[in-house]
């Protein structure tokens, strides 16, 4: 790998990476190769990738024992998941799609039958609300009228009692 970084042509960067990984079709590859013949900095980039990228791959290579344990452990986890899954599924039986759909269908069917055949048998009995409320409001309204009349009478009494007005007693004790 070169120590000094040479920038490749910007417009070729992606193509050069794909070329390095062998992801170019024949026509593209020929085009890239023609460019590489003419361009030293792009050639340097490809050389850098060849020198640099394989060294970044550092796979782990566990011993055979590891793989035996791996399979045994995973089997145990699968067993546990299956057991847990069954218990969980049983407890949520009513939330499974088909019981929900069948229960909803049954509910709609019952409602439809009730509305079809039950018409006329069921009379709405609780829709007396307006009348009841009127009956409740009327006495209140009458009371209000009564109290308003009382207030009026009080006012008349006061007027009558006022000196020099109406039939109230005069200063000299005679009637007005």
């Amino acid at each position: 790998m070169t120590k000094r970084l040479q920038e490749a042509c910007k417009e070729w960067g992606e193509d050069l990476v794909l070329y390095y990984y062998g992801e170019c079709r024949d026509a593209e590859r020929s085009r890239v190769e023609r460019h590489l013949e003419a361009c030293a900095s792009c050639r340097q980039l490809v050389e850098d990738l060849r020198a640099l990228l394989p060294g970044t791959v550092r796979p782990d290579d566990p011993p055979q024992r590891f793989w035996q344990d791996y399979s045994r452990e995973l089997r145990r986890k699968l067993d546990a998941q299956e057991e847990k899954g069954l218990g969980w599924k049983d407890s949520l039986f009513w939330l499974r799609p088909w019981p929900v759909v069948s229960m909803a269908t049954a509910a709609v069917l019952i409602l439809a039958l009730t509305l079809t055949f039950g018409r006329g048998k069921w009379r709405p009995q609780k829709f007396l609300m307006p009348d009841e409320s009127v009956l409740e409001i009327l006495p209140m309204a009458e009371n209000a009228e009564f109290f308003r009349a009382m207030e009026l009478l009080d006012s008349l009494d006061l007027l009558e009692a006022a000196p020099g007005l109406g039939n109230g007693p005069t200063r000299d004790g005679g009637a007005a």
């Binding site: 120590k3 000094r4 970084l5 640099l52 899954g85």
Partner: protein, 199 residues
């Protein structure tokens, strides 16, 4: 006609059997892909135990969701997708990729081709190899999760751009762009390192 043993069946047939609750068929798939799955998880985590746990978790999730798998993608693409998501979640939880395993494994592993000798013998070479390994870890950790995923699946696993696009559920052009950015960033940081270290 005599039925073939599960180990001889193709992935699609095994998936179909496993979808009918055949544990044996699923275990054949596990045996077929456990090393590849582990390797991908190790690329992301650089930790043997974490890689084992994450790859096993991917198999467990695949098993529990197998009935919803519609075979539009191949089984291993689907498994890799589950696994990569688990690895990215792991990375988010951890905050960053551990650099330590790169250092500890450096003496038994190869180092950068060309930059240093593949089998460091002298103390100087060992020190450079160790530094190089640390630098690679740092450079990979500095990539965005998408760039790192595209890079690891291409460079380490040798998957095609189309397969990576399926795993990452994105367009091939997007994968190419992630890969290009990842490689450019790695080259830049490792070239800078080579300039500093190599006399």
């Amino acid at each position: 006609m005599e039925a073939r043993p599960p180990a001889e069946l193709g992935d699609e047939e095994l998936v179909a059997l496993a979808q009918k609750s055949s544990r044996e068929a699923f275990e054949v798939l596990v045996e077929r892909y456990k090393q590849k799955a582990y390797r991908v998880a190790f690329d992301f985590t650089r930790d043997r135990e974490e890689a084992k746990d994450l790859s096993q978790e991917a198999f467990l999730r695949a098993f529990s969701h197998l009935k919803r798998f519609d075979l539009r993608a191949s089984f291993y693409t689907w498994l890799y997708r589950i696994l990569v998501n688990l690895c990215l979640d792991y990375g988010r939880r951890r905050g960053r990729i551990s650099l330590e395993p790169w250092d500890s494994k450096v003496e038994q592993d190869s180092s950068l081709n060309g930059a240093v000798d593949r089998t460091p013998s002298s103390p100087d070479q060992k020190a450079i190899a160790s530094e190089t390994a640390r630098e690679i870890g740092k450079a990979l950790a500095a990539l965005s999760p998408k760039q790192r995923t595209a890079f690891l699946l291409k460079n380490h696993e040798g998957l095609s751009i189309r397969e990576i696009a399926e795993i990452m559920r994105t367009a091939e052009g997007t994968v190419k762009a992630h890969l290009h950015r990842a490689v450019t960033a790695l080259r830049r940081s490792l070239a800078g390192f080579a300039e500093r270290v190599i006399p």
